[in-house]
């Protein structure tokens, strides 16, 4: 019972005391703002790296476009050959007057 009272007395006495926090309060907002911008900067590398990686990602894209363009060109050439042959036959017929 005496110990219980002692504990209550300790609580009662200790309740009125706090660590001196004047130094923490002073300039707290500035330190917090600095940390906020620091945290934002920590986020930045992801976006920075996205931009830095853009040219590297662009190289395979350019290669793909070039391959695709080349294949299209080849396909058109293959298609255009029979047409050209047909046209030349028509021209010969016309010129020879048949």
């Amino acid at each position: 019972m005496k110990q219980n009272r002692n504990l209550e007395q300790l609580f009662k006495a200790a309740k009125v005391i706090r660590p001196d926090a004047k130094e923490v309060e002073a300039g707290f907002e500035s330190r917090l703002s600095a940390r906020l911008s620091e945290e934002h900067q920590k986020e930045a590398p992801l976006s920075v790296w996205t931009w830095r990686l853009a040219p590297i990602m662009a190289i395979p894209l350019v290669i793909l476009i070039m391959i695709s363009a080349f294949l299209n060109f080849q396909e058109r050439r293959n298609l255009s050959s029979p047409i050209d042959a047909y046209e030349s036959v028509q021209m010969m017929i016309y010129l020879e007057g048949d």
Binding site: L10, A14, I17
Partner: protein
Amino acid sequence: MLYSVKMQPTACVQLPVKSAATLTSDPIVMKESSDQSLVEAALEGDTEAFVRLVTNHKKRVIGLAGRFTGIREEMDDICQDVFLKAYAHLGSYKKNAPFEHWLSRITVNTCYDYLRKKKHVKTFTECGLVYDIADLTLDERSEAEEAYRMLYRALVKLKPPERLVITLLELEEKSLREVADLTGWSIANVKVRAYRARKILRKIIKDEEP
């Protein structure tokens, strides 16, 4: 992303139905509505509004952090963590409850995280002290300081949940319901932890006494 403020549409603030005269004269309602408008402004990207919220609430947050550490750098770190979390999750704040309660929950959670990180530190660090009551005699002050040191030497030996509960109940004078709300534990759980904490504290104090 942790530190990005999510923009939310402005929710309707539900204030108790009172006459205009009562609304303007009631300081609590005025403070709440002021907090609400600051939160809304902060959510729209007004950092000045957030700084004003910090200025309005920093004393309470620092005061609570001071119950768990006497080291200024740690106190500063805890409080900065509290406001960084508040900034990051401002979008999740429900405007029908006072901002102060929401911030208190973040503070308690951050202090609890701090206690869990520091659970192996069993020594009490001496620090500069201030008194909540100004008109104490010299004898009362020295007696209070002795009690404070004795209690904190014992408190550091408790497990984090027990220390948190006993600090909130006995030093911050919160009710069981308030502690349960702040910690997210049930009232029965808070009671059990408080009982255990008292039992251990009594034993530690008994062992320390000559």
